[in-house]
């Protein structure tokens, strides 16, 4: 153990004039109610939504089988005074989050409606279109700092590509999102038409944690507690990273850029070491890989920072950042969820001006061409 107490300099201690404007790569807007989508749905799908609703591979129709510690996973102070769920009121989001924290741009990540996990694919296609329209109508057209993603249910790749084409023509979207918990690991070829289109359009592929893929949240079975299920999200991200790399997605789509959202970044370096460690012994099984797996990760993947790891020693967070590479990291807050990271306090280790600029702003600016 070091004798020196390496007290971190927190972001709020930085001189005011050097305070950066923040690009927040994970903000969750919410519907007030599902009927908000009716203007964007045909009569048939409005009726379907009301009568049958979601068909997801989870036991309950209205809630999660792993009850969170707070209602709607939200910060207790994030409920808008005007009513409605956290994240549903743009003015309140401005007042509580965008303005005080100097958010220059915020990447919207819609989790409502489980677009990635709908078993009825036709319903899923209608819903994804409605949500993609709603993002523009209710959010980005009213607040230019907020940026939408094209959400597509990956398991109907044809419908996904059609929706990508429709949205790309509108031109207001910055990335294409799919779920890490799909029917199959995301590297498999059924999903490649989506990646081909993303690459051609020059849009990053966003992969936010969550979804109901029909598999247990762990490779050892169904956990009993939210505490387990919550952490299993990072495990899904590790498995998704290895699937994409080992199937040759970056090899096959050399210009594709992939963003892992809300997986944190603590697990990445050990995953890269493990992939590389076993590469030679398994190489004959994956002859399509031309380079060591970690090289693909370092060129093709970006990782949002929340939930940031909190080691007891600040120097350990420092090592973690260096192992992953400061160029791969994108700040995210996860507003308005309970495990929100505040940009002023999240990094409990000293960062240079240059590193801060990259993590909080310029990496995302370059990636999303902002």
């Amino acid at each position: 153990m070091s004798e020196v107490i390496d007290r971190p300099m927190l972001e709020q201690e930085a001189p005011a004039k050097s305070r950066l404007k923040i690009i927040d790569c994970d903000i969750h807007p919410s519907l007030h109610a599902r009927s908000d989508l009716n203007p964007f749905l045909s009569k048939r799908w409005q009726e379907h939504l009301k009568t049958y609703g979601d068909h997801l591979r989870t036991p309950y129709i209205g809630t999660t089988p792993y009850p969170r510690s707070s209602p709607l996973i939200a910060r207790r102070d994030a409920w808008p005074p005007t009513g409605g769920p956290p994240g549903s009121d743009l003015d309140f989001m401005r007042k509580q989050h965008l303005d005080p924290l100097d958010i220059e741009f915020g990447m919207l990540q819609v989790l409502d409606m489980f677009i990635f996990s709908q078993q009825n694919l036709e319903f899923g296609a209608a819903i994804q279109r409605a949500v993609n329209e709603w993002q523009l109508a209710h959010w980005t057209s009213r607040e230019p700092r907020l940026k939408a993603a094209i959400l597509v249910g990956q398991d109907d790749a044809a419908a996904a590509v059609a929706e990508i084409e429709r949205c790309a023509k509108i031109g207001q979207y910055l990335q294409i999102n799919v779920s890490p918990r799909a029917n199959e690991p995301l590297g498999r070829r059924r999903y490649w038409p989506i990646y081909a289109r993303a690459e051609e359009l020059g849009m990053p592929l966003g992969i936010h944690v969550g979804g109901y893929g029909g598999h247990a949240p762990t490779g050892g079975g169904w956990p009993s507690y939210y505490a387990e299920e919550h952490q299993s999200n990072a495990h899904s991200m590790a498995a998704t990273l290895t699937s994409l790399v080992l199937e040759g997605v970056p090899e096959h789509f050399p210009r594709l850029k992939i963003v892992f959202i809300e997986g944190g970044f603590g697990w990445i370096s050990s995953t890269m070491w493990r992939m590389d460690q076993h590469f030679e012994r398994f190489r004959a099984e994956v002859p399509h890989l031309k380079r060591r797996p970690s090289e693909y990760v370092r060129e093709h993947f970006w990782f949002t920072t929340q939930p940031i790891d909190e080691p007891d020693e600040a120097r350990h967070l420092r090592s973690l950042i260096e192992w992953v590479g400061v160029d791969r990291l994108l700040f995210s807050s996860d507003y308005p969820h309970w495990d929100f990271d505040d940009p002023r306090f999240a990094f409990k280790t000293p960062l240079s001006e240059e590193e801060r600029a990259k993590i909080f702003n310029s990496n995302a600016r370059a990636l999303y061409k902002l």
């Binding site: 153990m1 009850p67 969170r68 510690s69 890490p180 918990r181 799909a182 029917n183 199959e184 690991p185 995301l186 590297g187 893929g213 598999h215 247990a216 762990t218 490779g219 050892g220 079975g221 956990p223 009993s224 507690y225 939210y226 505490a227 387990e228 919550h230 952490q231 299993s232 990072a234 495990h235 899904s236 590790a238 498995a239 998704t240 290895t242 699937s243 080992l246 199937e247 944190g264 603590g266 697990w267 370096s269 050990s270 070491w273 493990r274 460690q277 076993h278 012994r281 398994f282 099984e285 994956v286 939930p307 790891d309 909190e310 080691p311 020693e313 350990h316 090592s319 192992w323 495990d339």
Partner: protein, 353 residues
């Protein structure tokens, strides 16, 4: 005699049910395996011809890697310098669906290893293979072996029918604790459900990488279900799990626990502290960073010199050459992991004849 160096994970191979195990089956199961041709239970996790399953110089001319005692002796003892070694048999008994068949095959494996391995080399020890599919039968098998101190642990797979913390397994852990047997959770899957939360992988390589996450899920399950509160003497050894995922996993577990501990109020201290007390890991594979400074960082982050157990994973191909100790490990760790830590983790090692 050379210094004590206990190799906590080597793999003798069962040739087959109708060959190797036949003498150890009762008449009913002898008749069954012969007349129904029940054989070939090599686990999907470890195809014998796959490079990982056997280093080239540890493959016998005939048969599977690990099937020849004299070759194992030359490799694990003469070449790699172990003074003792713990045999973990990875044959498919643990994945059988029929609980009676599973129990019969586990019993046969344990009788076979006792007769043909432990009795022929006093340096060998073994884990008890149990039919966890049927906890009552698993307990019977533990009780049957308990008096034989050459059995030093209980072997289960990292990916079974359900997470290991779940209450239906508690009587098994109780029996293990009573007999001072740590639970050896070894890489391997029953293939009951997808090896990862994202589904069925295409490649063995991908599957093998996903094992690391399954081990992590098992730790969370054991901790949050309260297994170590219920059985405070119990130790769990992760075998062939990889090591370097541990620090970031500990931090995330602590952070999550701080946020949601209201759900599991019986977990009264940080998960990482519980891990340091109850969890041990074998050191092959280590999956380390390429540089000595990185390895030193990882060790510093884990914050314990008691968690590491020397292993070669013989005959699995994890490294080349004669040194099974992962590169750059600090000498303080190396000196503890070869003798002190194994003796502390497997108390029956000191009892055996």
């Amino acid at each position: 005699m050379a210094a004590t160096r206990i190799d906590c994970d080597i793999h003798p191979a069962v040739g087959g049910t109708r060959t190797t195990l036949l003498p150890y089956l009762d008449d009913h199961w002898k008749e069954q395996v012969v007349s129904r041709a029940i054989d070939g239970l090599d686990l999907t996790s470890y195809p014998p011809n796959m490079p990982l399953s056997g280093r080239a110089d540890w493959r016998p001319k005939n048969g599977k890697p690990g099937s020849d005692l004299s070759m194992v002796q030359r490799g694990a003892f003469d070449q790699l310098g172990a003074s003792h070694a713990i045999c973990n048999v990875l044959y498919g008994a643990q994945a059988v669906y029929d609980p009676y068949m599973a129990a019969a095959f586990c019993k046969a494996i344990n009788d076979w290893i006792a007769t043909e391995w432990l009795a022929r080399d006093k340096r060998l020890r073994a884990s008890i293979v149990i039919p966890l599919q049927a906890p009552d039968l698993a307990i019977e098998e533990i009780e049957r072996r308990a008096a034989d101190h050459r059995f030093v642990s209980v072997l289960v797979m990292a990916q079974g029918e359900s997470l290991l913390g779940r209450r239906h397994y508690w009587p098994v852990w109780q029996a293990a604790e009573k007999h001072r047997l740590p639970i050896a959770v070894h890489a391997g899957s029953q293939y009951r459900s997808a090896p990862s939360s994202v589904g069925w992988p295409s490649y063995r390589y991908e599957y093998y990488l996903a094992e690391a996450q399954a081990f992590q899920a098992q730790l969370l399950s054991l901790i949050y279900e309260g297994v170590f509160l219920k059985f405070p003497q119990l130790k769990v050894v992760l075998m062939e799990s990889g090591v370097t995922w541990l620090p970031a996993f500990m931090w995330r577990a602590n952070k999550t626990w701080r946020g949601v501990r209201v759900e599991v109020p019986w977990v009264d201290r940080e998960p990482a502290a519980i891990m340091r007390d109850h969890i041990r890991l074998t050191t092959q594979p280590f999956d380390g960073p390429p540089d000595a400074a990185g390895v030193a960082d990882i060790i510093d982050m884990i914050g314990s010199d008691r968690m590491f157990l020397f292993s070669s994973d013989y005959p699995h191909w994890q490294f080349d050459g004669d040194d099974a100790i992962p590169p750059h490990l600090p000498s303080a760790i190396v000196s503890r992991m070869c003798a002190d830590n194994p003796l502390e983790t497997f108390p029956r090692l000191s009892l055996a004849a």
